[in-house]
Symmetry: C2
């Protein structure tokens, strides 16, 4: 369950930044709770679990909590990431400049299609058979899967055999992984389907 | 809270498809729970809330539950979507072919940059000032925000004024919206940070 809890901490951070930009210096668990869609008790429980300290009665100091969250997320280290799949999503992620702000570095991209490897690219690209060698050489623990659905499980198996421990999966498929590997799925269609359902419900009210 | 619940239903569907592909015909709430990372009680509660019926003691019939979930998500309708921002993420989504399988249709793209509007594109593109007219003409309720962080709130305001009720937001910022508008955030960096935290924790064990 720790994955869901740390995801909430990351949501709190986004929320704290929003209120800081609006000029607030303090925030109550009630406000954070309302923004994220959980109970104030959940906020206080999460803060306690991750040892985020502050004065809950007088309001948490926003900058102080932000600093504590950044410490928690080991912001001082650079975290190396590799990506399998150099199609549309893969190319968009390679061009994305936001990784550096979060101390993340996309160190290499892989594909089985020689045509995709020929494209000019901001990061080194290799045939997927080179995954184990690059993971070992660069000491990488995180991988992104951005291949088509039918190729996702094989890409996942290759990453795991190479020693990857955390996978961000864009393929619309539930991957089979051993217990020591953590997968996070990003499903654009799934999120849109949820939005359709929720907004249709509202319409019927 | 209904948004989180329907997101779990969509996760159950992905999980049901996985077990169906593995040759299973029935599944227990215990197995679904384990896959998603919730309790079996939560699975049964969710099934009950969304009126998904089956024999929980003998195992749910996978195909039957899949059919019920598809009915629930109004799979027969076509849901129109517009997108603001024709940068890297926007272009990748336009090229993505998976929307049609889920009865979703990206009907138009918008940007304030004339250079981005000149690119050849599979969908009609317009200057962002045309958003209200297109939303009205096409009767659209869903929008995707794929603009830079600094432009996201303005894009959001324009969508809301035009009548959009559900927003999928790729910008790494918490949007301010009225209570009748639902926002779902997709944060690639946030998900990677959560994976870093969880896998580092495992390493320290």
């Amino acid at each position: 369950m720790i994955k869901k809890n740390i995801q909430r901490i990351i949501q709190y951070r986004m929320c704290l930044l929003k209120f800081q930009n609006l000029g607030f210096e303090k925030i109550f668990s009630y406000t954070l709770a309302q923004e994220i869609g959980v109970s104030p008790e959940q906020v206080r429980k999460d803060f306690s679990q991750f040892h985020l300290r502050g004065n809950k009665k007088a309001g948490y100091l926003i900058q102080d909590i932000l600093d504590q969250i950044n410490d928690l997320l080991h912001k001082e280290d650079i975290h190396k990431i590799i990506m399998v799949g150099l199609g549309n999503i893969g190319q968009a992620l390679i061009k994305y400049k936001g990784f550096a702000n979060r101390n993340m570095q996309l160190v290499a991209g892989f594909d089985i299609d020689p045509a995709k490897l020929k494209k000019t690219c901001r990061i080194p690209t290799f045939h997927s058979k080179e995954i184990p060698a690059v993971v070992k050489k660069e000491n990488v623990r995180l991988g992104i899967i951005a291949v088509p659905e039918a190729a996702a499980q094989e890409a996942c198996n290759t990453l795991i055999e190479a020693g990857i421990k955390g996978i961000l999966n864009f393929a619309p498929v539930m991957l089979k992984t051993p217990p020591d590997v953590v997968v996070q799925n990003i499903s654009v269609c799934g999120e849109l389907e949820a939005l359709v359902y929720v907004t249709e419900k509202d319409k019927q009210k």
